[in-house]
Amino acid sequence: MFYREAGQFKDSYESDQAIFPVAQDRWFVFGVVIAAFALVPFFIGDYWTNAVLLPLLAYSLAALGLNILTGYCGQVSLGTGGFLAVGAYTTFKLVTAFPELNFILVVLFSGATTAAVGVVFGLPSLRIKGFYLAVATLAAQFFLVWMFNKVEWFFNYSPTGQITMPPVELFGVLITGPRAPSAAKYLFCLGVVAVAAYAAKNIVRSRIGRAWMAIRDMDIAAELIGIRPLMTKLSAFAVSSFYIGMAGSLYFGVWLGSAEPIEAFGIEQSFLVLFMIIVGGLGSILGSFLGAAFMVLLPIVLKNFMVDGLSMAVVTAKHVEIMSLGMLIVFFLIVEPHGLARLWQIAKEKLRLWPFPH
């Protein structure tokens, strides 16, 4: 009833290939974006920004990146934490060496550096597949984190080994550091993420995106119809790492403000982002956001429920959280391998028919 495509005729390939061919989708996304930019900033406080919105945006971007590699191109990576670190340390080195550099450029540079690193670790993907590649990406994870931990140049020889983000202004407004207003941090991250998501959506629905999916679905057939496996996989590694690098920049620069490599970029982060795309939906842009939201909100909800509601000990609550996380992953893989995004789609199909079931 509410979601009805009937009567929306396309009379050119151009309109059929529009980003959201169905009018309702178009208005919905438009509405969400407008609300996110124009309404949310007026209502948020520091707690919401730091506990929910900033991690949500940073993780969405990382999930978007991993989804490009794993969900669209079919290459499993457990190196997300390491790539986040590359983005974060590039940002740190750039803002400490060139304080005047525009922060948008810093974020882009961080993405580019990470893309280069990602391509290097993606090289084995030509010869190895599946689990083998997953192990190869573990090499990236452990090596990169070790490097940022040991090579003092990366953390400017600080005695604690931590990196701390100096305050940075963009167009005269402070956007990093503890004194930056929440709304400014939020809007900056939102802007980056919105542009990145738009670009990702465009890429996955054009030639390169189709090549990625072809490699994912049947790599040999793809090769025989003229898709170059190495170039395609490396492009996925590059784009994916670019996104994760930018995410690392926001994650450290805007959200955390300071970071210590093993804790902030450890293997747990790799799993976390992987879980986001499983829960949200492999091969779905929307799914990356849904998954990130789910994974950011779940611990908060669980903690409120168990610690404050049931007055459980914090340690026990942590264990229950780990267990629930595992159960959710298994549950989603069994029940809906395409994740929340697929559930959303089913809901839309139901809406189209509502209130008549057939």
Binding site: G74, V76, P124, R127, I128, G130, F131, Y132, A134, V135, A136, L138, A139, F142, F143, V145, W146, N149, K150, V151, I220, A221, L224, I267, F271, L274, I278, V315, T316, H319, V320, E321, I322, M323, S324, L325, G326, M327, L328, I329, V330, L333, I334, P337
Partner: protein
């Protein structure tokens, strides 16, 4: 022997012993992979879980002690733990694998990551997350005989672990070659469809193979727990077993052993002789990078079969 050569020998031996531990975990991986094509990420957590369960059966201050005021003797504790591992295997088949039979390997792989989290959460909840010393009477300390006669420092525990691993491999080999169940397992590994059509029940096989893997995990857990206490880091050796598998090939038992030893020795030697120049702690990544380099030259592993791709 000169001091330097002696030192080198000690490094190699300690590497070999660490390698035995990796091999034990890798063995569990290989068993499950051969029989079901699942790369079981939860193998390391399984070892942790087994060690925790054993601890609670036998140790003063464990669960059984707390609840009933007595502890089981070690042999009974081990038998009970084996029982627990069989139940865990059955539950895993029942609740997870059964529903994922038709899925792609990579989905199954990710589901075992989920399993690892569940087991870790449950283990911590039931048994607590503090480090527990496990003592089941394995001789500790340095071997006096070697120290007196050759000036070589070798832990008795490590020799014991190596011997246990060797015995375990022999037992497994006999099990696979001589018993009916073992032959059925190999049949399933070769060809699922064919095995099904001659009346081998895949589900039973999966439960059995996960149980066997659980027992291998128990052995690994005992050794590791006796050496450095039962703690979460135990489950991280599961990750170290992955490069071992790449070296040895995912389907080869001898490969798992030799791969384990190579990785163990390789990372110890690298840490001792290379580590100081680059800031140390390269043990964290050496195994993975070694595996990565190896992949370039022999993607199928040392003992894996060459894959011919078809269309």
């Amino acid at each position: 022997m000169s001091g330097e050569a002696l030192f080198f020998l000690e490094v190699v031996i300690s590497g070999l012993m660490a390698g035995v531990m990796y091999a034990l975990v890798a063995l569990g991986f290989v068993l499950i992979f051969k029989a079901s094509g699942v790369l079981n990420f939860a193998q390391g957590v399984l070892a942790l879980f087994a060690a925790l369960a054993l601890y609670d059966f036998i140790a003063p201050g464990g669960w059984v002690d707390d609840l009933f005021g007595f502890t089981f003797p070690i042999w009974a504790g081990i038998i009970l733990t084996v029982g627990v591992m069989i139940i865990v295997a059955w539950l895993i088949e029942r609740l997870v694998l059964q529903h994922l039979v038709q899925q792609e390997p990579i989905i199954l792989f990710m589901s075992t990551i989920g399993l690892a989290y569940i087991l870790e959460g449950v283990g911590d909840m039931l048994f607590g997350s503090d480090v527990k010393p496990l003592d089941i009477g394995i001789p500790q300390g340095a071997s006096d005989w070697l120290l007196d006669n050759y000036g070589l420092y070798v832990e008795k525990l490590e020799v014991f672990a190596a011997l246990t691993a060797a015995i375990l491999v022999i037992v497994l080999a006999v099990f696979f070659q001589k018993t009916r169940i073992g032959r059925a397992l190999r049949a399933v590994a070769d060809d699922h469809q064919a095995a099904l059509s001659v009346g081998v029940s895949l589900r039973t096989i999966w439960v059995i193979v996960w149980s066997v893997a659980g027992m291998v995990a128990l052995v690994a857990g005992i050794m590791w727990g006796s050496k450095s206490g039962i703690q979460f880091s135990l489950s991280l050796i599961a990750l170290k077993a992955l490069p071992v598998l790449i070296l040895g090939g995912f389907t080869s038992v001898p490969g798992a052993i030799i791969g384990g030893l190579i990785i163990g020795v390789g990372e110890k030697v690298a840490e001792v002789y290379l580590g100081p120049y680059v800031g140390g702690a390269i043990e964290n990544w050496f195994a993975y990078v070694l595996a990565l380099v190896f992949l370039f030259f022999r993607p199928q592993g040392l003992f894996g079969e060459r894959i011919i791709e078809r269309v």
